[in-house]
Amino acid sequence: MQLSLRAVAWVLSAETVAVLISALLILDMRAHAAVEQADGPNTWGFRGTARLKAVGGARIAVVGGSAAYGYGVGWSQSFPYYLERALNQMWRTAYPHSYTEVINLAAVGDGAASYITTLRDYAYLKPDVVCIYDGYAGLGVTGAQGARHASVVFTKIGYLPILGDVLARRPPWASPERAVVDPLLRDGAVGEVSCDAGSRGVCSAIIETVVWAIGRGIAVAVVTPPYVSARHEAQQASLAALLAARFQGDRGVHYINMGRQIDVRDRAQSPDGIHLTARGNQTLSENLVDAMFDVLSSR
């Protein structure tokens, strides 16, 4: 049996479409390869080397916004990278004698509203610990679905296409409009900032995230990042009190305060008073590592 020429023409047309789709996909993967070691995400939409299978003893997933993502610095200068390095330094007394991975699931613009969605999206990575490094964006500027869900492809299959953004030179992970501080936290803002008032939504979202994680047997560390204002400090104190009241005695929930570990007014630590430099991220990780060992040992 031989296909008619008309049928062959149809086959060739379909193949041409398939070739074009393949070419676009390959170019997109090349774009990921080009940016993932710099400031962009890997093919799965998170930051750092893509590994689906855990390579060591434990896996920590960091969720957060631009501060956790490492806005403005390369992958190897972001705080999750330094934290992984610090956690695996064998000279440390608390070193657990197995490799601990830190996966950076944060996204620029994401806030507390989207953490559960993010953790659901990446449930296949099977984290042992969730580190909520809550940034400064409040509930976030990307909504409850988070930045990645702007892509239909990501929502459907978990692959994050970036070719269009890279070619247009407007990647969302480098967008200054997304890397912002919640107006409520700024000095001079009006209104009560505690979890009972202005920050009710943020605090509730964080509590829900904690409940979601411990309900799945995942330990949680809620980390307060360096303070950017007195109002931020007040908000975090309120959150700490809420966590203590809600999860008292729960060994799987930890609160770690890094608010005073870095002075964001020091330009060597933070160029914009919000996000940290490589040195700032390294210092933060060094100061965080012992507390994270405690979290790991509490599992």
Binding site: M1, V11, E15, I26, L52
Partner: protein, 367 residues
């Protein structure tokens, strides 16, 4: 048919004996990747080019028996099949039965196939078989069967699609446009299956090529690494050693072949060049044995029976040493030099013989 079956059995017996005596490679092979793929079906986060070549471990992994036995059995049966398939291809393209018989043994005792008896953890034996099988089906006009075979083959290695592209280019050279378009559709189908296999494994299981130079097409592929390692003289020696005396016979056979067969060889050049670029050429070229060896046997058949079979024996002896790495055989250079001398004699005899059309020669031997 009976003769083909007997030849196949004889080849399996001979190659099986060689495989049994072939030593274990002293270097790191792809055994781990293939065996892990056989056990686990897919290897999440695999960063090795070999991980993408899934078909052979999936098949060999299902066979009973000890690991080495299974892999060597696969290499032996595939190589014997490749030899028989080339014999059939030779007959289909109009080469004499006498020459086709020679082609069978030249493949079975060739450097590439014997190397896979020494290190069987590779998809190459299946490619040596797929090449002539697909080519034969295409030559007979069975495009559907050819596409099915090639599509299955690309799950083992990308080169399985090469015959389709070669025949597409061949049709263009023959100015058979309709046939060219049909074969183009077939070639694209098989190639797309390969591309989507790569993409599926990358996106579903996070496969990558790691640091493989074969995938680094813009910087010289694996060819640059191989040339850097071997040096120009070493590279030339390795390429010559891959086919030995056949290199001398092929140009003469090419000159004596029919126009169609010559065009087929020309059509194979781009594919051979591409594969030689991404894989070391001495091994890559063996994937195109079905468009090289037929030319060699056209010249070799001009010798008296004793001399042409002596050539096969010497050529095989050299390859048993350098390919199968049989340690108890004398150094390959003596056998290689003898086979080259016989090949030179064949060249002289063929050149001095009045030029006859290949079809006439075929009729002579059949008659």
């Amino acid at each position: 048919m009976k003769r083909t079956a007997l030849t196949f059995i004889a080849l399996v017996a001979l190659l099986g004996t060689v495989a049994a005596f072939a030593p274990k490679p002293s270097f790191l092979t792809d055994e781990d990747v293939y065996e892990s793929t056989a056990r686990q079906f897919t290897l999440v986060d695999c960063s090795d080019l070999q991980c993408f070549r899934v078909l052979v471990p999936w098949i060999v992994g299902r066979l009973p028996g000890p690991q080495v036995f299974r892999w060597k059995l696969f290499a032996v049966v595939s190589t014997a099949g490749a030899a028989v398939a080339l014999g059939r291809f030779c007959l289909v393209v109009g080469i004499t039965p006498r020459a086709a018989q020679l082609a069978i043994w030249l493949v079975a005792l060739g450097f590439g196939p014997l190397l896979t008896l020494f290190n069987p953890y590779t998809a190459d034996p299946l490619m040596y078989l797929a090449g002539p099988l697909v080519a034969t089906e295409l030559f007979l006009g069975h495009r559907g069967r050819a596409v099915l075979l090639a599509t299955a083959g690309v799950l083992a290695k990308e080169v399985a699609a090469a015959p389709l592209w070669i025949f597409c280019a061949w049709s263009v050279l023959q100015r058979r446009w309709t046939k060219a378009v049909r074969t183009l559709a077939a070639a694209m189908a098989a190639t797309l299956v390969w591309v989507w296999l790569q993409l599926w494994l990358m996106l579903r299981y996070n496969y990558s090529y790691g640091g493989s130079k074969s995938a680094d097409l813009l910087h010289g592929g694996d060819l640059v690494v191989w040339l850097g390692h071997m040096g120009p003289i070493g590279a030339a020696i390795a390429i010559f050693g891959a086919f030995g005396g056949l290199w001398l016979l092929m140009p003469i056979g090419f000159a004596r072949a029919t126009r169609d067969l010559r065009l087929l060889a020309i059509a194979a050049l781009p594919a051979a060049a591409v594969l030689s670029y991404v894989q070391q050429p001495d091994r890559a070229l063996w994937n195109f044995h079905y468009v090289m060896i037929p030319f060699a046997v056209i010249a070799l058949q001009e010798l008296p029976a004793l001399w042409r079979w002596l050539f096969v024996v010497c050529y095989g002896a050299a390859n048993l040493r350098v390919g199968a790495q049989l340690p108890f055989l004398p150094a390959a250079r003596y056998a290689l030099m003898t086979s080259v001398a016989i090949a030179l004699a064949a060249v002289v005899v063929t050149v001095r013989r009045p030029r006859a059309r290949m079809a006439d020669a075929a009729a002579d031997t059949q008659g």
